[in-house]
Every structure is written in C-alpha cells, then in structure tokens.
C-alpha cells in the first residue's frame, strides 16, 4: 500500500461527497434528532423523510414490527407536507448541516410528483432529488409507479422536465425484473437509481392471532434484506450507465464496501439508524481501517469492480 492518505470521497452526479455514507429516507427525519448524537456534517449527505404535497399522518398504529435481523414499518409517509418542509425544516437544517441534502419526494399522482419536485428543485441546499416510486404502504401510492417500467419512466420524464438537479429514482424490490424498470428510468432521463426500498413483509402476533401491523402488511428492511439489495445493485449496475445509490440492510463498513464493489457509488443506511443512532458515525470511522486491511486506496476505485472480474 502506498503511503498516500486514504481517499473516501465519491462523486455522485455533480455532488462531490466526503464519503459515500448517506442515511436513508425515513430513518433520519430531517436531521434534527441525530444532531443530538453527533455532528452530522461528517456524513456524505443524508436523505430526508419522504415528503408529499399535503401534510400526512400516515397509517394507523401499531405501525412498527420487529423481525429477525430486520423490522417492518407501515408509517405510510407521515410528513408535514412540502410547504412546511421548505418553510420550516430546511431553514432549520441550514443552521446545523452545511452540505447539500438529498430530498425524498413521494406522490399519489404524476402531478403531485411534478409539483413537489419543481418546488424542492428551487431549494439551494437540496443537492439531489430522490423520487420514491416504491413505498408499499400507501394505497394507490408509490407502489403502482414502481412496479412497471412504463409507469416508472412516466414519473421520471415528468419530474425531469421540471427540475435542474440530479434526479434519482428509488425503486421497489417487489418486482420480477428490476433491470427492466431501472433501464426504463435511465432511458427516461433519470440521473441515477436508488436500490432498494423495502420488501413487502408481514408478522402476526401469535398471542392475539392478528397482524402486528394495523395495516396488516408493511415494508420489511434491515440487515436481513442485504443479499437482495446487493443482487439488485449488481444487476442494475451491469445494465445501466447511471450511478446507483445502494440501500438495504447495510450495517457495517464491510457491507458498504461490498455494496460499492457490486456497483454502488453511494451507500444508504436505513433501519440500522433506529437500532444504533451512531451507526453512520461508526461506519465512517471504520471505513479507513477496513480499506487499509483490504488494500483499498480510494473508495471510488472499487465502484462496480465486481463487474470487471
């Protein structure tokens, strides 16, 4: 190993990031809660909570269930609405986070996606727009747009027409052919793909014999889903040219490296933030140690390297 300092930085579309670590949407709020644990400026960036046009309470409770090495949520996109995010959350965020943030936008119609993306595109602190076409919790919501190539392409085209910032489409893993959907998004102009949102899962309380989640089913996430996420990142990275944010089950610096070797330029960490609020900090600290051991000089070198072997 050369004696140069290790390089953790990656370039995600036009965004130069200090490191590839990005807390995932819905597990990091709008940043407020985590700044009490550590200085979140150490992050590459973070994705804020999925935001819709109108404020939403989301689904009835209970909307959280525990699983073997994972969890199910059916929060159902609780958020204060795009206007409150712009007028209240972002001004506050600016006071403690000094990097571009990634905006996660959800919608129930093409018009809603367009409306929200056009609005958030004007916010200076937003570096990337992540369009969630995959949330399985909302009836007639995200799910429908993420399960066919045509619908995903339609959202992509519509959003791209009203935005100037890089647009990532976040896809659902609950499909037979992820590559077809990702390619459709790429052809429709997406600047990147985020893989994956939650798997559709369920638990039953054997005491009450009823579903644990009031809404019956919900989104399954956490370390358990890592092999599915990694597979999809690898498949899409082979088929598409645009960069990928890998997401799903990441719990360690080694997982981050594995995701990057599979083809991810940045790596999102979701559920683990809820179990261990320091996880992203710990991963960022551990990354150089693992790189040293593995003889990796620069993280950007290993992106998609498995394809070449």
């Amino acid at each position: 190993m050369k004696n140069e300092p290790l390089n953790l930085s990656v370039n995600l579309c036009r965004l130069q990031m200090d490191n590839p670590i990005v807390p995932a949407s819905g597990t990091f709020g709008y940043g407020n809660e985590f700044k009490e644990f550590y200085d979140i400026n150490i992050l590459g960036s973070f994705v804020f909570k999925g935001t819709t046009k109108e404020p939403r309470f989301g689904n009835p409770t209970p909307r959280i269930a525990d699983c073997t090495d994972g969890m199910i949520n059916s929060v159902g996109l609780q958020n204060p609405g795009i206007d409150a995010v712009i007028n209240h959350e972002l001004p506050q965020l600016k006071t403690f986070f000094h990097k571009p943030v990634i905006a996660n936008i959800s919608g129930f119609s093409i018009d809603e996606y367009v409306y929200c993306c056009a609005k958030i595109d004007k916010e200076p602190q937003v570096g990337i727009i992540e369009v969630n076409v995959s949330c399985p919790n909302v009836k007639h919501g995200g799910m429908s747009f993420g399960t066919t190539p045509e619908a995903a392409a339609e959202v992509t085209r519509a959003v791209k027409a009203v935005t100037t910032k890089p647009v990532f489409i976040k896809l659902s893993p609950n499909v037979a052919d992820i590559v077809a959907i990702a390619k459709a998004c790429e052809e429709a102009g997406a600047d990147g793909i985020c893989l994956i949102n939650t798997l559709l899962g369920m638990r039953i309380d054997i005491n009450t014999q009823k579903p644990v989640i009031a809404n019956v089913m919900g989104g399954f996430s956490g370390p358990a889903i890592f092999p599915v996420a990694l597979r999809m990142v690898y498949q899409v990275s082979q088929a598409c040219q645009i960069p990928i944010m890998g997401c799903g089950g990441v719990a360690s610096a080694r997982d981050v490296i594995e995701m990057m070797i599979a083809g991810a330029t940045a790596v999102q960490v979701g559920s683990m933030n809820l179990k261990n609020p320091y996880i992203c900090k710990e991963i960022i600290e551990q990354l150089p140690i693992e790189m040293q051991q593995l003889g990796i000089q620069s993280l950007s070198e290993i992106i998609g390297i498995a394809q070449k072997k």
Partner: protein, 246 residues
Amino acid sequence: MYKKGLYTITSNMPLTETIYKMVLQGDTSYISASGQFVEIELPNKFLRRPFSVCDYDDNSITLIYKVVGEGTQLMSQLKIGTTLDLLTGLGNGFDINIDTKQPLLIGGGVGIPPLYNLAKQLIKKGLQTTVALGFNCAEELFFVKEFKEIGCKVVVATIDGSVGTKGYVTDAINQNGINCDYFFACGPLPMLKALCNHFTIEGQISMEERMGCGFGACMGCSIQTKNGAKRVCKEGTVFLKSELDL
C-alpha cells in the same frame, strides 16, 4: 439530550409471576425527569425495547417490566453482571413545575413504574401525594409497599376484588373519596380514557405506542392530538390531558 451507553445488571428478580425488577448500573446523567424511558438492545432482537425509568440515582436505573413476549422473556433470564446497551434520556418526562397541592398519581399494571420516581419528587416538594393503583388480582400486586414507604397515600383496585376496591382504578378513587387538584397517569388505554372522562381537572398522561427508534427519527409512534400529529417518543411520552383526544 440522549445518551447511548453500556449498563451492567446488578439485580434482576421477579416481583410477581410475570413482573420483574431490574437494576442497572451506569451513567444516568442524561435522565432529566421522572417518567422518561430507556431503549434496551437485546441479543438477537433487532429493535430495542422501551421501558420507563421507575427510579434512578447517580449511577443506577431501576426498571420494572412484565414478561409479555420474546424480548421480555429474554430479559427475565439475564444474569447479574450482564452488560446491556441502553439509550437513556428519552421522552419528555413528567413536568412537576405545576401548580398543585394535592396531586393524584394513577397507574395501571406496567403503567405504574414511571410514577414511582415522580412520587418521590412530589413528596420531596412537600406535596400530599396520593397514588391509585389498578391491578387484575392480588397475585399481580407490586410496589404498593414501596409507594407507602416513601410517604404516599395508596389506594388499590383489583378487577377481581381480591385486594382493595373491586373494579377499576376510578372505582377506587371514588370509593376512597380521594381529593385532588391535578393528576398524573400511566396505564392501559381504556384506563386513560376512563380518567379523561372522570376528571374535569387537568392532568399529565404518559402514552405508549409501539416504537421503532424511541428518539423521534422514524415516525413509528405518532398519535393524533388536538394540536396535530405528535411522536409519543419525542413530543411525549407525557401529554397534557387537554391536548389529548382519547
């Protein structure tokens, strides 16, 4: 402010057939009010489990928990000396800087624990503090003596009438002619609803919801209040009665 830290079990013993008391040693400096809770990481469980702080001092935390599922089952088997990872300082806790002379504390089942340190604080302020506790039956009674020992007046209700007033905790309050000008409550939802109907006075109510994180990040625990959606773990767990819509 929150704190994640390691805590060592110094005691873990049953109070009743299903209810256990656990004492943990470690940093308590982030616990700022009675009625706050901790989130415990358990081996082979993904999500942490939330428990109210029953009592705490400079370097120990007392929890009281009921075995209801795999996580609490596992807790009941942990040995003295075991180290656990806890988040502490969670939840707003009870506000004791209020105008009251005769507070009434009302607890049902495992809603009772967070009232214990609260009672201590109120007594320390010199207030004449009454505690009304509801249980299913005599076998499930716990902490009645402890509340008495710190100087509370204690009334008890049991569903089967085996101890105290037969019926609900509201029945015990009625039957004992308890006077109060403010109340604090924690317990099962039907009990809390009954209290809201029963009392015209203001009170503070500690709520429960199934939690993902316990510190406001996941929106898993939200409830609708008169002032909009609130996260039980963050804006609560303690809400004013006037704010709730039970």
